[in-house]
Amino acid sequence: MAETVLSVTELRKVYGDLLAVDQVSFRVSRGEIFGLLGPNGAGKTTILECLEGIRQADGGTMEIMGIDPGREPRKLRNLVGVQLQRSGLPATMTVHEALRFFCAYHGVAPRYDLVQRLGLAEKRTVQYQKLSTGQQRRLALALAIAHRPSVIFLDEPTAGLDVGSRVELHTLMRELQAEGTTLIMATHDMAEAEKMTDRVAILLQGKIVATGSPTELTATGAGTTKVSVRSEDALLVKDDRAFPAVDQRFIDEEYAVYYSTDPGPTVSAILRYLEDQGDRLIDLRVERPSLEERFLELTHREGAQ
Protein backbone atom coordinates (compact mmCIF):
# COMPACT_ATOMS: atom_id res chain seq x y z
CA MET A 1 0.00 0.00 0.00
CA ALA A 2 1.34 3.45 -0.93
CA GLU A 3 2.59 5.64 1.89
CA THR A 4 0.14 8.31 3.06
CA VAL A 5 1.79 11.73 2.99
CA LEU A 6 -1.23 13.84 3.77
CA SER A 7 -4.28 13.14 5.84
CA VAL A 8 -7.24 15.31 6.75
CA THR A 9 -9.77 14.12 9.33
CA GLU A 10 -13.08 15.83 10.00
CA LEU A 11 -11.71 19.26 9.10
CA ARG A 12 -14.02 22.11 9.98
CA LYS A 13 -13.74 25.84 9.28
CA VAL A 14 -16.28 28.55 10.08
CA TYR A 15 -16.36 32.19 8.90
CA GLY A 16 -18.83 33.99 11.12
CA ASP A 17 -22.16 32.27 10.42
CA LEU A 18 -20.88 30.43 7.37
CA LEU A 19 -19.74 26.84 7.73
CA ALA A 20 -17.15 26.88 4.94
CA VAL A 21 -15.72 23.39 5.52
CA ASP A 22 -17.81 20.71 7.18
CA GLN A 23 -16.24 17.48 8.50
CA VAL A 24 -14.00 16.95 5.48
CA SER A 25 -11.76 13.88 5.51
CA PHE A 26 -9.40 12.49 2.88
CA ARG A 27 -5.95 10.94 2.47
CA VAL A 28 -3.36 11.41 -0.25
CA SER A 29 -0.57 8.94 -1.05
CA ARG A 30 3.00 9.69 -2.14
CA GLY A 31 3.26 10.46 -5.84
CA GLU A 32 -0.45 10.92 -6.26
CA ILE A 33 -2.17 13.81 -8.04
CA PHE A 34 -5.23 14.54 -5.96
CA GLY A 35 -7.93 16.96 -7.07
CA LEU A 36 -10.30 19.01 -4.97
CA LEU A 37 -13.21 19.82 -7.27
CA GLY A 38 -16.14 22.07 -6.70
CA PRO A 39 -17.84 25.27 -7.73
CA ASN A 40 -16.72 28.67 -6.40
CA GLY A 41 -17.32 28.87 -2.66
CA ALA A 42 -17.31 25.10 -2.17
CA GLY A 43 -14.44 25.31 0.32
CA LYS A 44 -11.52 24.15 -1.86
CA THR A 45 -9.28 27.14 -1.20
CA THR A 46 -10.11 27.15 2.52
CA ILE A 47 -9.04 23.49 2.80
CA LEU A 48 -5.80 24.22 0.97
CA GLU A 49 -5.09 27.28 3.08
CA CYS A 50 -5.62 25.27 6.28
CA LEU A 51 -3.21 22.65 4.95
CA GLU A 52 -0.70 25.31 3.98
CA GLY A 53 -0.78 26.68 7.52
CA ILE A 54 -2.06 30.12 6.57
CA ARG A 55 -5.50 29.61 8.10
CA GLN A 56 -6.38 28.06 11.44
CA ALA A 57 -8.94 25.27 11.28
CA ASP A 58 -11.82 25.32 13.77
CA GLY A 59 -11.91 21.55 14.16
CA GLY A 60 -10.49 18.26 12.96
CA THR A 61 -6.92 17.17 12.40
CA MET A 62 -4.46 17.51 9.54
CA GLU A 63 -1.05 15.99 8.95
CA ILE A 64 1.48 16.42 6.18
CA MET A 65 4.42 14.03 6.40
CA GLY A 66 3.81 13.72 10.12
CA ILE A 67 3.62 17.48 10.73
CA ASP A 68 0.52 19.37 11.84
CA PRO A 69 0.41 22.43 9.56
CA GLY A 70 -1.75 24.35 12.04
CA ARG A 71 0.74 23.97 14.87
CA GLU A 72 4.10 23.73 13.17
CA PRO A 73 3.80 25.61 9.86
CA ARG A 74 7.50 26.55 9.87
CA LYS A 75 8.57 22.89 9.78
CA LEU A 76 6.63 22.51 6.57
CA ARG A 77 8.13 25.41 4.64
CA ASN A 78 10.81 23.39 2.86
CA LEU A 79 8.62 20.30 2.45
CA VAL A 80 5.71 21.94 0.66
CA GLY A 81 5.42 24.22 -2.34
CA VAL A 82 2.38 26.40 -2.78
CA GLN A 83 0.86 28.22 -5.72
CA LEU A 84 -1.84 30.34 -4.15
CA GLN A 85 -4.98 31.40 -5.96
CA ARG A 86 -4.68 34.92 -4.56
CA SER A 87 -1.15 36.02 -3.93
CA GLY A 88 1.27 38.52 -5.25
CA LEU A 89 4.84 39.57 -5.43
CA PRO A 90 6.29 43.03 -4.88
CA ALA A 91 5.42 45.10 -7.94
CA THR A 92 8.99 46.08 -8.82
CA MET A 93 10.57 42.64 -8.23
CA THR A 94 11.96 41.07 -11.41
CA VAL A 95 11.57 37.41 -12.37
CA HIS A 96 15.18 36.54 -11.52
CA GLU A 97 15.08 38.54 -8.29
CA ALA A 98 11.95 36.65 -7.22
CA LEU A 99 13.69 33.32 -7.79
CA ARG A 100 16.82 34.41 -5.93
CA PHE A 101 14.72 35.89 -3.10
CA PHE A 102 12.55 32.85 -2.40
CA CYS A 103 15.29 30.29 -3.05
CA ALA A 104 17.49 32.17 -0.56
CA TYR A 105 14.77 31.91 2.12
CA HIS A 106 14.46 28.18 1.36
CA GLY A 107 18.24 27.82 1.53
CA VAL A 108 18.65 26.45 -2.02
CA ALA A 109 20.40 27.74 -5.14
CA PRO A 110 18.16 29.68 -7.57
CA ARG A 111 16.53 27.39 -10.19
CA TYR A 112 17.02 29.51 -13.31
CA ASP A 113 16.22 26.42 -15.41
CA LEU A 114 12.57 26.82 -14.38
CA VAL A 115 12.47 30.30 -15.90
CA GLN A 116 13.49 28.78 -19.23
CA ARG A 117 11.18 25.83 -18.81
CA LEU A 118 8.13 27.94 -18.04
CA GLY A 119 8.72 30.32 -20.94
CA LEU A 120 9.89 33.26 -18.86
CA ALA A 121 13.50 33.45 -20.06
CA GLU A 122 12.89 36.61 -22.07
CA LYS A 123 11.15 38.16 -19.08
CA ARG A 124 13.90 37.49 -16.54
CA THR A 125 14.62 41.20 -15.97
CA VAL A 126 10.98 42.31 -16.25
CA GLN A 127 9.24 43.55 -13.11
CA TYR A 128 6.31 41.54 -11.72
CA GLN A 129 3.85 44.39 -12.33
CA LYS A 130 4.69 44.33 -16.05
CA LEU A 131 4.07 40.59 -16.53
CA SER A 132 0.78 39.36 -17.99
CA THR A 133 -1.58 37.36 -15.75
CA GLY A 134 -0.42 34.11 -17.35
CA GLN A 135 3.23 35.01 -16.85
CA GLN A 136 2.57 35.91 -13.22
CA ARG A 137 0.90 32.51 -12.70
CA ARG A 138 3.85 30.73 -14.32
CA LEU A 139 6.28 32.62 -12.10
CA ALA A 140 4.21 31.68 -9.04
CA LEU A 141 4.44 28.05 -10.15
CA ALA A 142 8.20 28.29 -10.64
CA LEU A 143 8.54 29.69 -7.11
CA ALA A 144 6.33 26.92 -5.72
CA ILE A 145 8.51 24.15 -7.11
CA ALA A 146 11.94 25.81 -7.07
CA HIS A 147 12.99 24.28 -3.73
CA ARG A 148 11.98 20.75 -4.85
CA PRO A 149 9.23 20.21 -2.28
CA SER A 150 7.75 16.78 -1.58
CA VAL A 151 4.16 18.05 -1.59
CA ILE A 152 2.86 20.75 -3.92
CA PHE A 153 -0.43 22.61 -3.54
CA LEU A 154 -1.82 24.16 -6.69
CA ASP A 155 -4.88 26.37 -6.42
CA GLU A 156 -6.53 26.83 -9.84
CA PRO A 157 -3.13 26.34 -11.50
CA THR A 158 -4.24 26.89 -15.09
CA ALA A 159 -6.44 29.93 -14.48
CA GLY A 160 -5.33 32.62 -16.91
CA LEU A 161 -2.96 30.35 -18.84
CA ASP A 162 -3.02 30.00 -22.63
CA VAL A 163 -3.22 26.59 -24.29
CA GLY A 164 0.54 26.17 -24.71
CA SER A 165 1.22 27.05 -21.09
CA ARG A 166 -1.47 24.64 -19.89
CA VAL A 167 0.12 21.81 -21.83
CA GLU A 168 3.55 22.71 -20.45
CA LEU A 169 2.15 22.82 -16.91
CA HIS A 170 0.52 19.42 -17.33
CA THR A 171 3.78 17.93 -18.62
CA LEU A 172 5.62 19.43 -15.69
CA MET A 173 3.06 18.01 -13.26
CA ARG A 174 3.53 14.54 -14.74
CA GLU A 175 7.32 14.86 -14.43
CA LEU A 176 7.03 15.92 -10.79
CA GLN A 177 4.73 12.99 -10.15
CA ALA A 178 7.20 10.62 -11.78
CA GLU A 179 9.86 11.91 -9.37
CA GLY A 180 7.60 10.97 -6.44
CA THR A 181 6.20 14.42 -5.70
CA THR A 182 2.64 14.55 -4.40
CA LEU A 183 0.37 17.16 -5.94
CA ILE A 184 -2.88 18.47 -4.50
CA MET A 185 -4.79 20.58 -6.95
CA ALA A 186 -7.95 22.64 -6.41
CA THR A 187 -9.84 23.35 -9.59
CA HIS A 188 -13.26 23.84 -11.05
CA ASP A 189 -12.01 22.78 -14.49
CA MET A 190 -13.49 19.27 -14.73
CA ALA A 191 -11.74 18.40 -17.98
CA GLU A 192 -8.38 19.21 -16.45
CA ALA A 193 -9.18 17.21 -13.32
CA GLU A 194 -10.30 14.23 -15.38
CA LYS A 195 -7.13 14.34 -17.43
CA MET A 196 -4.61 15.04 -14.68
CA THR A 197 -5.75 13.59 -11.36
CA ASP A 198 -5.47 10.07 -9.99
CA ARG A 199 -8.23 10.70 -7.49
CA VAL A 200 -10.61 13.53 -6.78
CA ALA A 201 -12.89 14.69 -4.00
CA ILE A 202 -15.97 16.58 -5.14
CA LEU A 203 -16.93 19.35 -2.73
CA LEU A 204 -20.28 21.04 -2.47
CA GLN A 205 -21.06 23.63 0.19
CA GLY A 206 -18.06 22.63 2.28
CA LYS A 207 -18.77 18.88 2.25
CA ILE A 208 -17.23 16.06 0.25
CA VAL A 209 -20.04 14.46 -1.74
CA ALA A 210 -17.95 11.97 -3.71
CA THR A 211 -14.39 10.63 -3.71
CA GLY A 212 -12.60 8.31 -6.10
CA SER A 213 -10.74 8.17 -9.38
CA PRO A 214 -12.40 10.06 -12.26
CA THR A 215 -13.19 6.68 -13.88
CA GLU A 216 -14.77 5.34 -10.69
CA LEU A 217 -16.81 8.48 -10.21
CA THR A 218 -18.16 8.54 -13.73
CA ALA A 219 -18.96 4.83 -13.52
CA THR A 220 -21.01 5.30 -10.37
CA GLY A 221 -23.18 7.95 -12.03
CA ALA A 222 -26.48 7.41 -13.77
CA GLY A 223 -24.64 4.86 -15.99
CA THR A 224 -25.74 6.22 -19.31
CA THR A 225 -23.63 6.57 -22.44
CA LYS A 226 -24.10 9.48 -24.80
CA VAL A 227 -24.71 8.50 -28.46
CA SER A 228 -24.78 11.41 -30.95
CA VAL A 229 -25.83 10.80 -34.55
CA ARG A 230 -25.84 13.04 -37.60
CA SER A 231 -27.21 11.86 -40.95
CA GLU A 232 -27.61 13.38 -44.43
CA ASP A 233 -31.41 13.66 -44.37
CA ALA A 234 -31.54 14.26 -40.60
CA LEU A 235 -34.28 11.65 -40.21
CA LEU A 236 -33.42 11.10 -36.56
CA VAL A 237 -33.80 14.83 -35.86
CA LYS A 238 -37.22 14.90 -37.52
CA ASP A 239 -38.45 11.52 -36.30
CA ASP A 240 -38.94 10.91 -32.55
CA ARG A 241 -38.43 7.17 -32.93
CA ALA A 242 -37.70 4.95 -29.91
CA PHE A 243 -34.53 2.80 -29.78
CA PRO A 244 -33.59 0.06 -27.31
CA ALA A 245 -32.08 1.05 -23.94
CA VAL A 246 -32.52 4.77 -24.58
CA ASP A 247 -33.36 6.78 -21.47
CA GLN A 248 -33.42 10.25 -22.94
CA ARG A 249 -33.31 11.90 -26.36
CA PHE A 250 -32.72 15.49 -27.36
CA ILE A 251 -31.67 17.47 -30.42
CA ASP A 252 -28.41 19.39 -30.51
CA GLU A 253 -28.45 21.35 -33.81
CA GLU A 254 -28.02 18.68 -36.56
CA TYR A 255 -27.39 15.87 -34.07
CA ALA A 256 -29.87 13.52 -32.45
CA VAL A 257 -28.46 12.75 -29.01
CA TYR A 258 -29.46 9.64 -27.04
CA TYR A 259 -28.57 8.64 -23.48
CA SER A 260 -28.39 4.85 -23.49
CA THR A 261 -28.02 2.40 -20.61
CA ASP A 262 -26.72 -0.21 -23.08
CA PRO A 263 -25.03 1.49 -26.04
CA GLY A 264 -24.43 -1.69 -28.14
CA PRO A 265 -28.08 -2.46 -29.01
CA THR A 266 -28.87 1.25 -29.26
CA VAL A 267 -26.15 1.92 -31.88
CA SER A 268 -27.00 -1.25 -33.84
CA ALA A 269 -30.68 -0.29 -33.97
CA ILE A 270 -29.91 3.28 -35.05
CA LEU A 271 -27.60 2.12 -37.86
CA ARG A 272 -30.13 -0.48 -39.04
CA TYR A 273 -32.90 2.13 -39.05
CA LEU A 274 -30.85 4.60 -41.09
CA GLU A 275 -29.92 1.91 -43.60
CA ASP A 276 -33.55 0.80 -43.94
CA GLN A 277 -34.64 4.39 -44.54
CA GLY A 278 -31.85 5.05 -47.05
CA ASP A 279 -30.39 7.91 -44.96
CA ARG A 280 -26.57 8.16 -45.08
CA LEU A 281 -24.68 8.35 -41.78
CA ILE A 282 -22.35 11.39 -41.56
CA ASP A 283 -21.16 11.25 -37.94
CA LEU A 284 -21.58 8.88 -35.01
CA ARG A 285 -20.09 9.57 -31.55
CA VAL A 286 -20.27 7.29 -28.53
CA GLU A 287 -19.01 8.97 -25.36
CA ARG A 288 -18.91 7.73 -21.82
CA PRO A 289 -20.19 10.29 -19.30
CA SER A 290 -17.59 12.90 -18.39
CA LEU A 291 -16.59 13.92 -14.90
CA GLU A 292 -18.32 17.20 -15.63
CA GLU A 293 -21.60 15.42 -16.27
CA ARG A 294 -21.16 13.40 -13.10
CA PHE A 295 -20.38 16.61 -11.24
CA LEU A 296 -23.51 18.30 -12.60
CA GLU A 297 -25.54 15.26 -11.62
CA LEU A 298 -24.20 15.46 -8.06
CA THR A 299 -24.77 19.21 -7.90
CA HIS A 300 -28.34 18.74 -9.11
CA ARG A 301 -28.96 15.96 -6.60
CA GLU A 302 -27.53 17.97 -3.67
CA GLY A 303 -29.51 21.03 -4.78
CA ALA A 304 -32.71 18.98 -4.86
CA GLN A 305 -32.01 17.72 -1.34
Binding site: G88, F101, A104, Y105, G107
Partner: protein, 270 residues
Protein backbone atom coordinates in the same frame (compact mmCIF):
# COMPACT_ATOMS: atom_id res chain seq x y z
CA UNK B 1 23.20 34.19 -0.35
CA UNK B 2 20.93 34.09 2.66
CA UNK B 3 17.36 35.34 2.76
CA UNK B 4 18.11 38.45 4.80
CA UNK B 5 20.78 39.68 2.38
CA UNK B 6 18.57 39.03 -0.69
CA UNK B 7 15.64 40.71 1.03
CA UNK B 8 17.68 43.74 2.08
CA UNK B 9 19.20 44.03 -1.39
CA UNK B 10 15.79 43.93 -3.06
CA UNK B 11 14.16 46.40 -0.66
CA UNK B 12 17.06 48.84 -1.04
CA UNK B 13 16.83 48.71 -4.85
CA UNK B 14 13.06 49.10 -4.58
CA UNK B 15 13.60 52.45 -2.83
CA UNK B 16 15.30 53.70 -6.00
CA UNK B 17 13.26 51.76 -8.56
CA UNK B 18 9.80 52.65 -7.31
CA UNK B 19 9.10 56.21 -8.58
CA UNK B 20 7.03 57.22 -5.55
CA UNK B 21 9.70 55.94 -3.15
CA UNK B 22 12.45 57.67 -5.12
CA UNK B 23 10.44 60.87 -4.84
CA UNK B 24 9.83 60.59 -1.10
CA UNK B 25 13.34 59.33 -0.24
CA UNK B 26 15.35 61.78 -2.32
CA UNK B 27 13.62 64.23 -4.63
CA UNK B 28 11.11 65.64 -2.13
CA UNK B 29 13.44 66.09 0.89
CA UNK B 30 16.42 67.28 -1.14
CA UNK B 31 14.21 69.60 -3.22
CA UNK B 32 12.68 70.99 -0.04
CA UNK B 33 16.15 71.41 1.45
CA UNK B 34 17.32 73.34 -1.62
CA UNK B 35 14.22 75.53 -1.49
CA UNK B 36 14.60 76.22 2.22
CA UNK B 37 18.31 76.89 1.75
CA UNK B 38 17.61 79.48 -0.91
CA UNK B 39 14.48 81.14 0.49
CA UNK B 40 14.47 80.66 4.27
CA UNK B 41 18.10 81.70 4.77
CA UNK B 42 17.37 84.91 2.83
CA UNK B 43 14.22 85.68 4.88
CA UNK B 44 15.61 84.57 8.25
CA UNK B 45 19.42 84.30 8.44
CA UNK B 46 19.08 82.75 11.93
CA UNK B 47 17.69 79.64 10.20
CA UNK B 48 21.29 78.80 9.21
CA UNK B 49 22.07 77.99 12.85
CA UNK B 50 19.90 74.86 12.95
CA UNK B 51 19.32 74.31 9.25
CA UNK B 52 21.20 71.01 9.13
CA UNK B 53 19.33 69.20 11.93
CA UNK B 54 15.98 70.63 10.77
CA UNK B 55 16.49 69.33 7.23
CA UNK B 56 17.93 66.02 8.43
CA UNK B 57 14.84 65.45 10.60
CA UNK B 58 12.58 66.50 7.73
CA UNK B 59 14.28 63.95 5.45
CA UNK B 60 13.94 61.16 8.00
CA UNK B 61 10.27 61.89 8.74
CA UNK B 62 9.44 62.14 5.01
CA UNK B 63 11.05 58.78 4.20
CA UNK B 64 9.92 56.80 7.21
CA UNK B 65 6.56 58.24 8.28
CA UNK B 66 5.28 59.50 4.91
CA UNK B 67 6.93 57.09 2.49
CA UNK B 68 7.40 53.73 4.14
CA UNK B 69 3.90 52.72 5.37
CA UNK B 70 2.07 53.03 2.02
CA UNK B 71 4.02 50.35 0.09
CA UNK B 72 3.83 48.00 3.08
CA UNK B 73 0.05 48.32 3.26
CA UNK B 74 -0.27 47.90 -0.51
CA UNK B 75 1.94 44.80 -0.40
CA UNK B 76 -0.15 43.23 2.36
CA UNK B 77 -3.41 44.00 0.54
CA UNK B 78 -1.99 42.61 -2.74
CA UNK B 79 -1.24 39.27 -1.06
CA UNK B 80 2.55 39.73 -1.07
CA UNK B 81 2.79 38.87 2.63
CA UNK B 82 0.87 35.63 1.98
CA UNK B 83 3.50 34.68 -0.61
CA UNK B 84 6.20 35.56 1.89
CA UNK B 85 4.55 33.49 4.60
CA UNK B 86 4.27 30.29 2.58
CA UNK B 87 7.91 30.64 1.60
CA UNK B 88 9.14 31.06 5.14
CA UNK B 89 9.90 34.78 5.20
CA UNK B 90 9.68 35.75 8.91
CA UNK B 91 7.24 38.45 9.98
CA UNK B 92 10.07 40.34 11.67
CA UNK B 93 11.95 40.56 8.33
CA UNK B 94 8.86 41.81 6.51
CA UNK B 95 8.70 44.78 8.86
CA UNK B 96 12.27 45.46 9.84
CA UNK B 97 14.00 45.13 6.47
CA UNK B 98 11.93 47.87 4.77
CA UNK B 99 12.48 49.99 7.89
CA UNK B 100 16.25 49.42 7.68
CA UNK B 101 16.46 50.18 3.96
CA UNK B 102 14.22 53.24 4.29
CA UNK B 103 16.40 54.43 7.15
CA UNK B 104 19.43 53.81 4.93
CA UNK B 105 17.99 55.96 2.13
CA UNK B 106 17.10 58.68 4.63
CA UNK B 107 20.66 58.62 6.00
CA UNK B 108 22.08 59.02 2.48
CA UNK B 109 19.93 62.13 1.96
CA UNK B 110 20.83 63.33 5.45
CA UNK B 111 24.53 62.90 4.66
CA UNK B 112 24.12 64.91 1.44
CA UNK B 113 22.44 67.70 3.42
CA UNK B 114 25.05 67.66 6.18
CA UNK B 115 27.95 67.85 3.74
CA UNK B 116 26.49 70.44 1.36
CA UNK B 117 24.63 72.82 3.70
CA UNK B 118 27.74 74.60 5.06
CA UNK B 119 29.10 75.07 1.53
CA UNK B 120 25.90 76.01 -0.29
CA UNK B 121 23.93 77.86 2.38
CA UNK B 122 26.40 78.62 5.17
CA UNK B 123 24.55 76.23 7.49
CA UNK B 124 26.22 75.74 10.88
CA UNK B 125 28.02 72.43 11.32
CA UNK B 126 27.37 70.57 14.58
CA UNK B 127 29.93 71.06 17.33
CA UNK B 128 29.76 67.47 18.57
CA UNK B 129 29.75 65.26 15.49
CA UNK B 130 29.45 61.99 17.45
CA UNK B 131 26.31 63.25 19.21
CA UNK B 132 24.96 64.45 15.87
CA UNK B 133 25.35 60.99 14.33
CA UNK B 134 23.88 59.27 17.39
CA UNK B 135 20.83 61.57 17.46
CA UNK B 136 20.35 61.09 13.71
CA UNK B 137 20.33 57.31 14.18
CA UNK B 138 17.98 57.54 17.17
CA UNK B 139 15.60 59.76 15.20
CA UNK B 140 15.70 57.36 12.24
CA UNK B 141 15.00 54.41 14.54
CA UNK B 142 12.03 56.07 16.27
CA UNK B 143 10.48 57.42 13.06
CA UNK B 144 10.96 54.10 11.23
CA UNK B 145 9.29 52.28 14.14
CA UNK B 146 6.37 54.72 14.01
CA UNK B 147 6.14 54.23 10.22
CA UNK B 148 6.10 50.48 10.80
CA UNK B 149 3.30 50.81 13.34
CA UNK B 150 1.26 52.96 10.93
CA UNK B 151 1.65 50.30 8.23
CA UNK B 152 0.48 47.58 10.63
CA UNK B 153 -2.66 49.34 11.88
CA UNK B 154 -3.76 50.90 8.57
CA UNK B 155 -6.36 48.94 6.67
CA UNK B 156 -5.91 50.81 3.38
CA UNK B 157 -4.00 53.61 1.66
CA UNK B 158 -6.37 56.32 2.87
CA UNK B 159 -5.93 55.33 6.50
CA UNK B 160 -2.15 55.27 5.96
CA UNK B 161 -2.14 58.82 4.64
CA UNK B 162 -4.33 59.98 7.52
CA UNK B 163 -2.07 58.52 10.23
CA UNK B 164 1.11 59.70 8.49
CA UNK B 165 -0.18 63.24 8.10
CA UNK B 166 -1.30 63.25 11.71
CA UNK B 167 2.39 63.10 12.62
CA UNK B 168 3.91 64.94 9.67
CA UNK B 169 1.88 68.15 9.48
CA UNK B 170 2.00 69.14 13.19
CA UNK B 171 5.69 68.22 13.18
CA UNK B 172 6.36 70.73 10.42
CA UNK B 173 4.39 73.48 12.13
CA UNK B 174 5.11 72.93 15.82
CA UNK B 175 8.10 70.62 15.94
CA UNK B 176 10.73 73.36 15.95
CA UNK B 177 11.96 72.70 12.41
CA UNK B 178 10.90 75.96 10.79
CA UNK B 179 10.54 78.03 13.94
CA UNK B 180 12.60 77.12 17.05
CA UNK B 181 10.59 75.77 19.95
CA UNK B 182 11.59 78.68 22.21
CA UNK B 183 10.12 81.11 19.69
CA UNK B 184 6.71 79.39 19.86
CA UNK B 185 4.14 80.46 22.49
CA UNK B 186 4.77 78.74 25.80
CA UNK B 187 1.32 77.11 25.89
CA UNK B 188 2.21 75.26 22.68
CA UNK B 189 5.27 73.60 24.23
CA UNK B 190 3.32 70.77 25.85
CA UNK B 191 1.62 70.00 22.55
CA UNK B 192 4.99 70.13 20.76
CA UNK B 193 6.32 67.60 23.26
CA UNK B 194 3.78 65.09 21.91
CA UNK B 195 5.70 65.11 18.60
CA UNK B 196 8.85 63.00 18.08
CA UNK B 197 10.37 65.73 15.93
CA UNK B 198 10.39 68.23 18.83
CA UNK B 199 12.40 65.88 21.02
CA UNK B 200 14.82 65.15 18.21
CA UNK B 201 15.30 68.82 17.40
CA UNK B 202 15.88 69.66 21.05
CA UNK B 203 18.44 66.88 21.32
CA UNK B 204 20.34 68.21 18.30
CA UNK B 205 20.19 71.73 19.73
CA UNK B 206 21.45 70.73 23.16
CA UNK B 207 23.86 67.86 22.55
CA UNK B 208 25.08 68.30 18.97
CA UNK B 209 25.26 72.14 18.94
CA UNK B 210 25.75 72.83 22.65
CA UNK B 211 23.00 75.46 22.74
CA UNK B 212 20.24 76.08 25.31
CA UNK B 213 17.08 74.04 24.94
CA UNK B 214 13.43 74.32 25.91
CA UNK B 215 12.96 70.60 26.66
CA UNK B 216 15.26 68.59 28.89
CA UNK B 217 17.67 66.66 26.55
CA UNK B 218 17.98 63.48 28.67
CA UNK B 219 14.18 63.35 28.94
CA UNK B 220 13.89 63.95 25.18
CA UNK B 221 16.35 61.11 24.51
CA UNK B 222 14.43 58.80 26.83
CA UNK B 223 11.11 59.72 25.18
CA UNK B 224 12.48 59.10 21.68
CA UNK B 225 14.15 55.80 22.56
CA UNK B 226 11.23 54.41 24.56
CA UNK B 227 8.63 55.40 21.96
CA UNK B 228 10.76 53.83 19.22
CA UNK B 229 11.10 50.58 21.15
CA UNK B 230 7.42 50.59 22.04
CA UNK B 231 6.37 51.23 18.43
CA UNK B 232 8.64 48.39 17.27
CA UNK B 233 7.21 45.97 19.83
CA UNK B 234 3.62 46.98 19.06
CA UNK B 235 4.26 46.56 15.32
CA UNK B 236 5.43 43.00 15.85
CA UNK B 237 2.49 42.19 18.16
CA UNK B 238 -0.12 43.74 15.86
CA UNK B 239 1.38 42.45 12.61
CA UNK B 240 -1.13 40.75 10.34
CA UNK B 241 -0.23 38.67 7.28
CA UNK B 242 -3.52 39.25 5.58
CA UNK B 243 -6.39 41.56 6.55
CA UNK B 244 -8.92 39.09 5.07
CA UNK B 245 -7.69 36.47 7.49
CA UNK B 246 -8.42 38.12 10.83
CA UNK B 247 -6.36 36.34 13.43
CA UNK B 248 -4.66 39.22 15.24
CA UNK B 249 -2.83 38.73 18.49
CA UNK B 250 -4.27 41.98 19.86
CA UNK B 251 -6.66 44.77 18.94
CA UNK B 252 -5.18 47.56 16.77
CA UNK B 253 -6.32 50.11 19.36
CA UNK B 254 -3.41 48.88 21.45
CA UNK B 255 -1.23 51.03 19.16
CA UNK B 256 -2.39 54.06 21.11
CA UNK B 257 0.09 53.00 23.81
CA UNK B 258 2.85 54.52 21.69
CA UNK B 259 1.63 57.96 22.78
CA UNK B 260 2.46 57.21 26.44
CA UNK B 261 6.17 58.20 26.34
CA UNK B 262 5.29 61.44 24.55
CA UNK B 263 2.53 62.18 27.07
CA UNK B 264 5.02 61.67 29.88
CA UNK B 265 7.45 63.94 28.03
CA UNK B 266 4.73 66.58 27.71
CA UNK B 267 4.05 66.41 31.46
CA UNK B 268 7.75 66.98 32.12
CA UNK B 269 8.00 70.15 30.01
CA UNK B 270 9.70 72.77 32.23
Amino acid sequence: MNGFVEHFSYEFKSGLRNPSLLLINYLFPLGFYAMMGLIMTAINPLFRALMIPAMVIFTIVASTVLGMPGPLVEAREAGVFRSYRINGVPAASILTIPALTTGFHALISAAIITVTAPVLFEGDMPVHLGAFVAITLLTAFTCASLGMLISVISTDSRATILWSQLIFLPSMLLGGLMVPLDALPERVHSFSALLPVSHSMELFTGWAYGRPTTLNPPVAAAVLASSGLLALALSIVLFNWDTRNQTRRAHPLLAILVVVPFAVGALLVP
